[in-house]
């Protein structure tokens, strides 16, 4: 039996009926057409589906849609505000901190969660914060530099 849930996505209230077994990633991608969050493994191992739930990073493939009830979800699509890129998006571009781009949305959202709770992270803290986000292309160095650069910019 579908259940009606209400939650906020990128600042907008949404209400929809979901099956109990549907995951947050299914609702975001298939019902709301927010395809920025990617499914790389379906088991919470790669981090490509990372979104923020009340500003905490979660793997959207491990969260049931019904768990989003009343919560505030932020996806990569909600990061740029009024057409202005988030500093992380700017520094990812500047440092070429992406290649194929499949891990990028999740990577940026994990970094965003870090900067929200710790605006001045050390290099080690950045590496720890994104160590659940796999990237097979970049070798991570440019990503760490981009996150540190964004932290610098925000301060």
């Amino acid at each position: 039996m579908p259940e009606k849930i209400r939650f906020s996505v990128n600042g907008e209230q949404v209400e929809l009926a979901v099956e109990h077994h549907h995951r947050l990633i299914d609702v975001l991608r298939d019902d709301l057409f927010l395809t920025g969050a990617k499914e790389g493994c379906g088991g919470g191992e790669c981090g490509a589906c990372t979104v923020l739930m009340d500003n905490e990073p979660v793997n959207a493939c491990l969260v049931l849609a019904v768990e989003a009830e009343g919560r505030e979800i932020t996806t990569i699509e909600g990061l740029a505000k009024e057409g202005r890129l988030d500093p992380l998006q700017e520094t990812f571009i500047k440092h070429a901190a992406l290649q194929c781009g499949f891990c990028t949305p999740g990577m940026i959202m994990s970094a965003k969660a870090l900067l929200l709770r710790n605006p001045h992270p050390t290099e080690t803290e950045v590496k720890e914060a994104i160590s659940g986000n796999l990237c097979r292309c970049t070798g991570y160095k440019s990503i760490v530099e981009a996150v540190l650069d964004a932290a610098q910019k925000e301060s």
């Binding site: 395809t35 699509e77 499949f102 796999l134």
Partner: protein, 769 residues
Amino acid sequence: MSETLIGASVPRKDSLEKVTGRARFVGDLHLPGMLFARVLRSPYPHARIRSIDVSRAFRVPGVKAVVTGRDFPNFVGLYLVDRNIFAVDKVRFIGDPVAAVAALSLQAAEEALGLIEVECEELPGVFDPLSAIAPDAPLIHENLHQYKRVPAYHPVPFTNIANHVKIRKGDIEEGFKQSDEVFEAAYHVPHMQHCQLEPHAAVAQVEAGGTVTVWSSCQSPNAVRKLLAVAFDIPVGKVRVITPYVGGGFGGKAGVSIEGILVALAMKTGGRPVKLVLTREEVFQGTTVRQGLVARIKTGYMRDGRLIAQAAELFWDAGAYCEYGVNIVRAAAYSSAGPYYIPYLKTDSYCIYTNHPAGGPFRGFGMGELHWALDQQLDQIAHRLGLDPVEIRLINAARDGTTTATGEVLKDIGLAECIKSAAKKIGWDEPKKPLTGKGIACMVKAPAMPGNAASSAVIKLNEDGSANLLITATEIGQGAETVLAQIAAHELGLPVDRVNVAQPDTGYTPYEWQTVASRITYSAGNAVMRAAQDARRQLLTMAAEGLGLPEDRLTITAGMVHAVDDPAKSIGVADLALGLTMPDGSGRYGPVIGRGHFIPEGIEGLDPETGQSAKAVAHWTFGVQAAEVEVDPQTGRVEVKKVAAVYDVGKAINPLLAIGQTEGGIIQGLSVALYEQLHLRQGRLMNPSFVDYKIATAADVPEMDVGFVETPLADGPYGARGFGEHTMVPTAPAIANAVFDAVGVRITDLPITPEKVLAALRLKGKGGE
């Protein structure tokens, strides 16, 4: 021309889309009426199919199509056509597709799979390449002798050898006779997965007129088009392959993967599109893997460190199908001298069927596996002779005038400079702390492609003076869009953001052989350069007429065609893009369309008996990596502290991207060195997930120092050579050599796990070796 664009670190053209989540991958496509597919795969490594009954599957509500090898017994394959889209008479590995279902939902498709009844008779399996070539080994492909193939490959009928490549350079016995000493060792490489973050995905749709459209996360739309056209007997022009952004390839999306399964389904759904996105477990189990290797190397050398002779036997565990793998085995043979000059060479490279997952290209195309052996072999020789590992590499480094394994005379080679630079970057001569060590490894790689592998490009100029670049090179993360746009903009005198790059659509974009072999900057780059030069000539012709000046007095800067010595005498590219307008309002010429193509010239096949060829490949790219490690003697854990990498790239067209590509290669190489192995037990994969198959994370990243040498390649665009894959090849042997330097144990069997290091340290402590 704007001189500043070649060698400029312009931002990636795809970065805005990718940081905002707007970049579209195949898995993001939602088409009206789309059905969802699931694949039934073999649970047996080797079995004869007795019967398949799909009738119950159709009873599941929402099921629209079920297909098996009985419906589509078609063969598909790039070099050796040994593979069916679905298993027909036999399954040959755990994961071999047997049937597929398309349904309104994934759940329905999944349920239907469970109702397909397959009756099999298990056959004895073969799980390592050496047993597979034993005289009494069960045959995996009984009809090998009947398979179609490209003549460059040499299967041995009625054996499990899908290809045997021989290199005979000089009289090997004479070489060993001349040598002061001889050293023999063996090296092992396990199977690995590419682990692109994007699982393989495709959508197929069949139009009423028979046109088949396939949206595919593939590296090579034209290859997919051709292979599907042959397999399904459709005219090539009626197969349209569209490839949006690809979420990583590394060889795992070269050739065809899942597209045939979808076309088979889509032919039975009355025009409804069918989508398949593999699960991560399926990617691990059912897509191509890096082949395993057992390498036996015997080397003759002089006491001064010069290599004289090398006899190598390479036994590749190529898995259940070798349609693509046969070429890896060939590439390893003609590259078997590695980056060194060896006067006498004998190589036998065997592509061997086993009941393991099908092997295929993996970044490096055999070079990572080959150099794991060759560069440790040289290191062992250095230590036996008491020579410095850097010095022995400088002594033997290939250089202008030396010959390759096939007898090709090399020129424009910057390897020695790379060795010196990498040694300096790692602090080779600085004193080392206890339990730390430094190692160095060199590499070489050539694009492994047929002699006629072509690229082409079309540039259309628009009435606002911008350009649309049409290519079928795929953007798999390497930065093709950006670098090719830079080349076009440079030649046309346009800002790079005025060049729009089309995504591949074989219905409209011009031919590209494949996005593999680190060949796009080189080959497609040449085609784009020529297309832009063609468009430029058209602009100059019209401007000369319009301005009343000779063409040779004109140039193009920032979108204006103007006199070289008088910028005021000018006409905008925008005003010429659709033709020349005369003062009376009449028109001449027409819209500017530049066209360019490229095929590397003069590539010759290998002699079937000796493997000799004056020019076996388009070009060679050399590089070096040096690693510093620290080993914990209590746990055996190896920590990589720093990696230095120096490549002779000919010309770094975009240094920012070139450095990023190299850093990525280093970390992939480090990951392969320390962690990666598909654990196969009687053909069953024991670790099909990122939990059990660990790849490097941000926490593993050492200091990295990347440098380039730029020895121009005669036929490279602006001198550029291919080098994308090369960046991971020498990392593992450099780390292994550093581990030896640190604690005196040599790990010849990848990966370098703490267990192996600890066991070797214990053995060494007991006086063993």
